[in-house]
Point group: C2
Chain length 190, copies 2
């Protein structure tokens, strides 16, 4: 009985990897290169959330307060646990959602409320993108064109990402793994 | 080719359900009734996070600032998407983690940092618990005894949970589903 219980999850893992490995680019991109909205990103692995994070000193959002939630695809997450690096075709999703103070029985602090204010995908694909990584910004669930490589996000991730242009310094469950595997950039901003 | 791509995820779903349905209580509980620490909860489905939420008017945490992250088991989540209700054996995990302001390139707002400060599990199991649900509080990864049913969490969830003693009013991706399926309590605090 025990042997059987252990074998089933292994089978699941094998099937999941098979699905991932035969991934059809048509499920991710339109023929014209726009990325399809990743409908299932809320079922990816959660990495962390922040509230009103900003990389600049000056306030810029007025009265708006929002959470960001970061997810990564399960197959890529499992590779990172094993190696401390991201495989080709890894996708991250960054979702922003409104922060609410008083509501229901909550009296203080902030909770997430309402529909997403936006979803951005960061994708690794050296065959497809010069520089190896690309960003796509979605409004609603329409397919989206690549954000031009001159945009600030590219230079900032390149300069400050702790592992391979990604902000592993902000993902508490991954930072220790990168340290252990020796995959942190030597001079990332701590 | 398309037919094949669609069939594989279906197979995965069937296998996952099979694993879930044959779930051995020995994987969740010790023989003495303590719950084992759910080692894989960070791979469950993320429902939401909050910062310094409190159901009381008065401040009580001094200088501590922390995020809470809520996860639910994937099989239970899929049942909720379909029905707006939680099946028997559903487990939620509530994790608290320190909130940090300035750090790395972050200048404002808060991000999550460090090890979990605690993990609490809310579990549905009418065969095992009078009242149908129970709470378990973990310090570290040791197995934990049930929190006594006189504790405030039981009465508060019972009185204020929007769906079956759970705080669906704070889970933005589930609230609409519960509305649509008609499973919200008629008088939950909005």
């Amino acid at each position: 009985m025990h042997a059987r219980n252990y074998r089933l999850p292994a089978l699941v893992a094998v099937v999941l990897f098979a699905v991932s490995a035969t991934g059809d680019p048509g499920s991710v991109y339109e023929p014209d290169g726009r990325m399809k909205f990743p409908k299932d990103y809320r079922e990816w692995i959660f990495l962390s959330s922040g509230l009103d994070m900003s990389y600049r000193e000056m306030p810029g959002m007025g009265d708006h307060s929002m959470f960001d939630n970061v997810f990564v695809e399960p197959a890529a997450y499992r590779v990172f646990l094993r190696t401390g690096t991201w495989p080709e075709e890894t996708r991250f999703a960054l979702e922003t959602r409104g922060a609410k103070g008083k509501g229901s029985i909550n009296q203080r602090g902030k909770f997430q409320s309402g529909e997403p204010m936006g979803v951005e995908v960061h994708v690794k694909d050296a065959k497809r993108f010069a520089g190896g990584w690309a960003f796509f910004g979605f409004q609603g669930t329409e397919s989206a064109p690549q954000i031009p490589t001159g945009a600030e996000c590219y230079a900032c991730h390149q300069k400050n990402g702790a592992v391979d242009t990604t902000f592993v310094q902000f993902y508490p469950t991954l930072l220790g793994i990168a340290k252990q595997k020796g995959t942190l950039r030597s001079a990332y901003p701590q």
